[in-house]
C-alpha cells in the first residue's frame, strides 16, 4: 500500500466521523497547544534575558577586585602591579587606582575601565527630592558608546563639576522633558559617617535618627546630559541614576557602598577603588582579557563564567514547563487511545474484509496508525496555532497593563522554528505511541470472527 493511499484512507475515515475527530483532535490541540505555549514562554524568557544581557552588553563586563585585602586602605598601602604568589600572607596586591585603570585600558580588547564606586545621596532639583545611588564614572567612559544620551552631552572632563542623570530619575523629579533639565543646577546631598564630638553628643542625647553617627554634605552640580536609560550595569546590575566624574567625586565626602569595607573607611581614605569594571569590546575577547587581568594579580568575575550555569537553569526551567505541559498530553493520548479503540470496534467487520481481500497484519496496523498519526498532525498544527493565539492575547493584555506603567513592549513568548516543528513532531509521535495498542489489536483481529461480526 502506498503512503499516499494510507494518508487518503486515514483522512477519509477521520472525515467520516467528524464530531469524534474534532473532539479527539481538540484534546490533542489543547495538550500540544499548552505544551508549546509553556515552551514558548520559557524560550521567550530566555531570549529576553539573553537579549537584555547582550543589549546591555553584560557579558562584556568583568568585575575586577584585588586578589586579597582590597579596599582603599590596602590599595594605598601596597602598590604593585605584577603577579604575586597566591596564599602568601604578606602578599602584595595590585592596587586599583587611576594608574592601573590606565594600564588596564591598554590591554587588547578592553574598551573601557572605570571604578566601581557608588554612594547614596539625596538629589534635589528645584523643589523635588529623590534618594538614589550616585556612581563615579570617568568622562572617557561616559563619552563612549556605553552611555545612550537622550539630551545634552557627557561631562567635559574628570574634574568637571557636572553630573549626568537618567531620564527615570528626572521623571521622579517631575521633569518630563529631558532637554529642560540640561544646564540646570542640581544638588547632591551625601551621607557621611561622623564621629566628631558634636556627633557623639548628638548620639548620646538625641532622638530617632539623630542617634546615628552620620551627617550630610551638600554639593552643587550642573546637569550636563540625560541618559536614555541606565547604561552602566556592570556584571552586577545595580542601578545608578546619577553619574559624577572621579575628579569631582574625590572632593566629595560620601559613604561609599561598593563593599562592606567601605563602611569602615575613614573620610581621608577615599583615594583608590575597591573594585573596577572592565568593559571588553567583544564577548569573544572576554576570556583572554580575564586571563590578562588575573596575570596582574587581580580577582575577576564575569557573567560569561555564569553562562553555563544560566543555561543549566534554563534547562531545568524547560523541564519543569515540559512536566506541566505533559499532563495535557497524557490526557490527550488517552483520548486518542479511546477513539482508536472505538474506531476499531466499529470497523471490526471492515478489518475482516481487509484481511479477506489480502491485507497483511502490517497493512491493517499501518492503516490505523496513519489515522492516529493524522490526529497527531492535525492536533500539532492546530495546537501550534492555539499556542500562538493564546500567547498573542497574553502579550497584548500584559503589555497593555505594563504600558500604563511606562514599561516598553516585551514579547514574552518566542516561537523559534525548531519549537514549531518539534511541537508538531512531538504531537505526531505521541499520537503514534497512543495508537500502538489499538492498532496492534486491529492487526490481530481474526478475519473469520470479524466477517461474522454484526
Amino acid at each position: 500500500m502506498r503512503a499516499s493511499d494510507y494518508v487518503g484512507h486515514a483522512w477519509a475515515n477521520l472525515w467520516k466521523k467528524k464530531l469524534r475527530t474534532v473532539l479527539t483532535t481538540g484534546g490533542v490541540v489543547i495538550g500540544v497547544g499548552s505544551l508549546i505555549c509553556m515552551f514558548a514562554f520559557g524560550q521567550g524568557i530566555q531570549r529576553n534575558i539573553k537579549d537584555r544581557f547582550n543589549e546591555l552588553e553584560l557579558f562584556n563586563y568583568i568585575n575586577v577586585t584585588p586578589r586579597s585585602g582590597g579596599g582603599p586602605r590596602s590599595a594605598r598601602l601596597r602598590r604593585h602591579a605584577r603577579p604575586q604568589p597566591a596564599g602568601d600572607p604578606n602578599e602584595s596586591v595590585a592596587v586599583l587606582d587611576d594608574d592601573l585603570l590606565e594600564e588596564l585600558t591598554q590591554i587588547e580588547g578592553v574598551e573601557a575601565a572605570y571604578p566601581e564606586m557608588r554612594f547614596p545621596a539625596q538629589i534635589r532639583l528645584g523643589s523635588r527630592e529623590q534618594f538614589t545611588l550616585v556612581q563615579v564614572v570617568t568622562s572617557k567612559a561616559c563619552g563612549s558608546a556605553l552611555v545612550q544620551l537622550r539630551a545634552g552631552r557627557a561631562y567635559a572632563s574628570d574634574d568637571a563639576n557636572e553630573v549626568m542623570v537618567s531620564d527615570s530619575l528626572l521623571r521622579r523629579l517631575n521633569v518630563t522633558q529631558p532637554e529642560d533639565a540640561v544646564g540646570r543646577e542640581i544638588e547632591i546631598r551625601t551621607v557621611v559617617l561622623d564621629f566628631s564630638l558634636q556627633s557623639l553628643a548628638r548620639m548620646a542625647f538625641g532622638r530617632g535618627d539623630q542617634r546615628l553617627p552620620v551627617s550630610n554634605r551638600v554639593y552643587s552640580f550642573t546637569i550636563a546630559g540625560v541618559l536614555e536609560r541606565m547604561g552602566f550595569g556592570g556584571p552586577l546590575p545595580i542601578r545608578s541614576d546619577a553619574f559624577v566624574p572621579p575628579g569631582a567625586a574625590a572632593g566629595m565626602r560620601k559613604l561609599v557602598l561598593t563593599g562592606v569595607s567601605d563602611l569602615f573607611q575613614l573620610p581621608e581614605e577615599t583615594a583608590g577603588y575597591s573594585a573596577v569594571t572592565v568593559k571588553v569590546a567583544s564577548t569573544r575577547q572576554v576570556m583572554s582579557v580575564k586571563a590578562s587581568l588575573e596575570e596582574r594579580g587581580l580577582r575577576t568575575f564575569a557573567l560569561m563564567d555564569q553562562l553555563e550555569e544560566m543555561q543549566k537553569g534554563f534547562i531545568i526551567m524547560d523541564m519543569f514547563l515540559l512536566a506541566i505541559g505533559m499532563i495535557g498530553i497524557a490526557v490527550a493520548s488517552l483520548g486518542i487511545v479511546n477513539t482508536m479503540v472505538m474506531s476499531i470496534l466499529e470497523r471490526y467487520r471492515e478489518i475482516g474484509v481487509m484481511k479477506a481481500v489480502g491485507a497483511t497484519d502490517g497493512d491493517v496496523q499501518r492503516i490505523f496508525l496513519f489515522e492516529s498519526g493524522m490526529i497527531g498532525l492535525l492536533g500539532g498544527v492546530f495546537g501550534l496555532a492555539l499556542a500562538w493565539a493564546v500567547s498573542f492575547v497574553i502579550n497584548q493584555v500584559v503589555n497593555g497593563f505594563a504600558a500604563r506603567e511606562g514599561v516598553p513592549f516585551i514579547q514574552y513568548f518566542s516561537f523559534p522554528w525548531w519549537l514549531c516543528l518539534s511541537g508538531i513532531g512531538f504531537s505526531i509521535l505521541v499520537s503514534l505511541l497512543a495508537g500502538i495498542y489499538p492498532t496492534r489489536r486491529a492487526a490481530r483481529v481474526d478475519p473469520v470472527v470479524a466477517l461474522r461480526h454484526d
Binding site: 479477506a356 489480502g358 491485507a359 502490517g362
Partner: protein, 235 residues
C-alpha cells in the same frame, strides 16, 4: 473428481476448542477440484461448509491435513504469505455482501487493489470496468445502502474479481436474495467462470440451483464428505 486437481485437499480436519470442549467442524476431508470447474458444496447447517471455505481461502488454518493450490501447499504458508495468497489467488464473496458502507460501489470494488500497490487511476479504471461486466456501470457512485441486495452482491462479485484471481470462493452468495435474483447471480458466476476460466467453489443450501449450474456437487454431513458427484464433464 479430478485426480490431478488444481485444488487438492488431503485429510483436512478442523477442531475448535472452547475450554475443555472440542468441536470437530471438519473431519478428514479429502477433495480434488480441477482447474476451471464450478463446484457446489451443500449440506445442512453445521456440516462444515463454511469451515471448508475459510480453510480454502486461507482465512483459517487446519488442525490436521493440508491443502494444495496449483503447486503451493497453502497450509504451510506464513501469515503474510497467506495474506498474499488471498490477495492474488483468491476472490471471496459472502452471504452478507460485506461491502464497506461508507464507500461507493466503485470504491468497494477498487478496495483490494489498495493492498496490491495499484495506482489510484488504475484502480478506478479496473473497478469501473468490472462494474460494467456485472451490469452496474450506472451505479458506480452509489453507496451500498442505495443498492438492492442483488446489486450489492454484484458489487461484491466485482470486488472479488478485481485482482484477477484464479479461484472464486462464494459462501452462500444467494442466502440473502430472492429466488429470481439468486438465479441471476449464480448465472452471472457461471458466465464469469466460462469467460475467465475461473475455478469456483460455491456453498449453497439450494441444491437445485447448484445442480443447474455447477459441474460438481459435494455434500457434507457432520464435517465429513458424504459425496462428491460430477454433474457435468469437461467441455
Amino acid at each position: 473428481m479430478d485426480a490431478d486437481g488444481f485444488i487438492q485437499i488431503e485429510g483436512l480436519t478442523k477442531v475448535y476448542s472452547s475450554g475443555p470442549v472440542e468441536v470437530v467442524a471438519l473431519r478428514d476431508a479429502t477433495i480434488s477440484i480441477g482447474r476451471g470447474r464450478f463446484v457446489g458444496v451443500t449440506g445442512t447447517s453445521g456440516s462444515g461448509k463454511s469451515t471448508l471455505m475459510n480453510l480454502l481461502g486461507g482465512l483459517d488454518t487446519p488442525s490436521a491435513g493440508r491443502i494444495r493450490v496449483d503447486d503451493r501447499w497453502i497450509s504451510d504458508l506464513s501469515k503474510t504469505d497467506l495474506a498474499l495468497f488471498r490477495r492474488y489467488t483468491i476472490g471471496m464473496i459472502f452471504q452478507s455482501f460485506n461491502l464497506i458502507p461508507s464507500y461507493s460501489a466503485v470504491e468497494n470494488v477498487a478496495f483490494p487493489l489498495l493492498f496490491a500497490d495499484v495506482a489510484r487511476k488504475e484502480r478506478i479504471r479496473r473497478a469501473t470496468e468490472l462494474l460494467a461486466a456485472v451490469g452496474l456501470e450506472a451505479r458506480g457512485h452509489h453507496l451500498p445502502s442505495e443498492l438492492s441486495g442483488g446489486e450489492q452482491q454484484r458489487v461484491a462479485v466485482a470486488r472479488a474479481l478485481v485482482n484477477r484471481p484464479a479461484i472464486l470462493l462464494a459462501d452462500e452468495p444467494t442466502g440473502n436474495l430472492d429466488s429470481r435474483t439468486s438465479r441471476q447471480i449464480v448465472r452471472m458466476l457461471f458466465d464469469l467462470k466460462t469467460e475467465r476460466g475461473l475455478t469456483i467453489v460455491m456453498i449453497s443450501h439450494e441444491e437445485a440451483l447448484l445442480r443447474e449450474f455447477a459441474d460438481e456437487l459435494i455434500r457434507l454431513q457432520d464435517g465429513a464428505v458424504l459425496s462428491h458427484e460430477t454433474l457435468r464433464d469437461r467441455p
